[in-house]
């Protein structure tokens, strides 16, 4: 099970992306849980996830989000704005899988 947190503003528009990612996950037969939350809720929950994604409209909070993710040892990335705009769950899922595989490689190398 891959647990993804998407840090966003009010979770209204991100919930559409979440739906689309879950559909894409079913098609790829991978177990996925995605939660969209505000930056405050994220701070309280960062330990209970595998990957952190940042919605483009709050990228001004990127630095503090990345710092927290780094201290918890979680991979983190900004969602490509155009993928966010077109609610392209498949592309964002690819991004999640890529993030996970690259961190695992990093761990194996060290």
């Amino acid at each position: 099970m891959i647990r993804v947190l998407i840090v966003c503003s009010w979770g209204m528009s991100t919930s559409l992306l979440v739906e689309s990612m879950l559909v894409a996950a079913v098609a790829r037969k991978c177990e996925l849980s995605v939660e969209a939350l505000s930056a405050g809720e994220y701070a309280a929950k960062v330990d209970e996830c595998d990957v952190v994604l940042i919605a483009p409209q709050i990228r001004h909070l990127r630095k503090s989000i990345e710092k927290l993710a780094a201290s918890a040892g979680k991979p983190v990335a900004l969602i490509e704005p155009f993928h966010y705009a077109t609610m392209n769950g498949q592309a964002v899922l690819e991004q999640v899988l890529y993030l996970l595989s690259s961190t695992q490689e990093g761990e194996a190398a060290t």
Partner: protein
């Protein structure tokens, strides 16, 4: 033209994003905003329903409910009317989440401290609830925010300091937590009570009679000029420009401006609910300016559905559903509007024009001023009717604004479409040529 657009968006990214982002990233602003959205909004919305029932828009119904009016208003007064109390909890709680400390204790303490700060230090058994009620709602928001922030910060400081009561490691963690909180709780309670006692020893003249001063009354008097200034055309203009400047660089503008201005908007709205004529309120922006999402982008979605550009058609299809509920991230990041120097012009200009028209319309009383708060996701047409407490001219105003938006966006949309179509054709041609090349190579 295309490369000029790219160059200037680099410039925006470098010089405009950092200062705006720093403003938007303040932990205190984020905590206040979260508190409003998560803790007070459901209560305010549910409470507003009773306000509408008590003041139905149809005269015949209004006559019918007159004798039950005060009874119907009770749930309104104890939800909407107590929003500052819940906000005190919410701010302390949300800030504690950002600070990664236990949130419930500061939340509950902030509520208690807020109550202490709002009551005159006197024989409480003789206190009339009606005298303090306004300061537990719209008029107490500033006090609630300050107390919420202070509570969490003080408790956090104590938790790490040597002034905490320490217990042996064998004591269960829940017991330890209660004792850890004891010192800051006692100190804060004493401090706020002492301050309130001092303030209560002063009187002011209300309705020709002397009355005891309290912290919220004092702060409201100090900030009254600011509340008045906020409810003006220049302030409305400043707020909408700031919102759209932030969105223009791809930052959630409403999110930022709301955190600063919402106490004022709600305070003015509470005055309207009591029969006042304030204009610059939350619905003034969310319901009457951001038609189809920030920037009033509804007409763009319609244009996109029939566009000659494949990119815009794709975005249009995705954007249609969310637009009905005033969500427009697909438009903002898909057209894109953000960091697009061409589309940024109408993206700011359209809301500014609409705000100007609406301010004038509300000012001369052509449409009833907003009295009811609703989620920003209520569709266009319905929301204008509800916000004004049942004035059909509220919906008409929204449709008029929509037409204005459609008119201003059109030439900019066409220009952007031309650029995209040229790009798409160039890309297709390149693909075709490279395809031919490979064919030749294969032969």
């Amino acid at each position: 033209m295309s490369s000029m657009i790219e160059r200037s968006s680099d410039w925006f990214e470098r010089y405009l994003v950092p200062p705006l982002g720093a403003l938007a990233g303040s932990v205190y602003l984020q905590a206040v905003r979260d508190a409003f959205i998560i803790f007070t909004l459901p209560l305010i919305l549910a409470g507003s329903v009773f306000l509408i029932i008590a003041n139905p828009p149809i005269p015949a119904l209004a006559e019918l409910v007159t004798q039950y009016r005060s009874a119907i208003l009770v749930p309104f007064q104890l939800s909407f009317g107590l929003m500052a109390l819940f906000l005190a909890f919410g701010v302390a709680y949300s800030l504690a989440q950002y600070r990664r400390t236990e949130p419930v204790q500061p939340g509950v303490l902030a509520m208690v401290l807020f109550l202490v700060a709002s009551m005159p230090v006197s024989d409480l058994t003789n206190l009339r609830l009606g005298d303090v009620l306004p300061y537990l709602g719209g008029q107490g928001l500033l006090v609630a925010i300050l107390i919420g922030i202070m509570t969490t910060e003080v408790m956090r400081w104590f938790r790490g300091s040597r002034f905490t009561i320490r217990l042996p490691k064998t004591v269960p963690p829940n017991v330890t937590r209660a004792f850890e909180a004891l010192v800051p709780t006692f100190l804060l309670l004493t401090a706020v009570w002492a301050l309130e006692w001092f303030i209560s020893s002063h009187t002011f003249i209300m309705d020709g009679k002397p009355a005891q001063m309290t912290l919220p009354i004092l702060l409201m008097r100090a900030f009254q000029p600011l509340v008045v200034v906020q409810d003006s055309y220049p302030a409305a203009l400043l707020e909408i420009v700031l919102m759209m400047m932030l969105w223009s660089v791809g930052i959630h503008g409403m999110n930022v401006v709301t955190a600063i201005a919402l106490p004022f908007w709600l305070s003015t709205l509470a005055t309207n609910a009591a029969g006042g004529h304030g204009i610059v309120t939350e619905p003034f922006f969310h319901i009457f300016a951001h038609l189809g999402g920030s920037g009033a982008t509804w007409p763009l979605v319609i244009y996109m559905l029939r566009s000659r550009s494949a990119q815009l058609r794709t975005v249009g299809k995705v954007a249609l559903g969310p637009a009905i509920f005033n969500i427009n991230e697909p438009v903002t990041f898909g057209v894109p509007m953000a960091l697009n120097p061409l589309m940024m012009i109408p993206f700011v200009l359209v809301p500014v024009t609409i705000v100007t028209i609406n301010y004038f319309v509300f000012f001369i009383g052509l449409v009833h001023v907003p009295v009811v708060l609703q989620p920003f996701t209520v569709p266009l047409g319905i929301s204008g009717f509800v916000a004004t407490g049942g004035d059909i001219r509220g919906s008409l105003l929204q449709f008029f604004d929509l037409a204005v938006s459609a008119l201003i966006y059109y030439p900019f949309f066409k220009a952007w479409e031309r650029i995209l179509v040229t790009r798409e054709e160039a890309a297709a041609q390149q693909l075709e040529e490279s395809g031919k090349k490979t064919l030749v190579q294969v032969r």
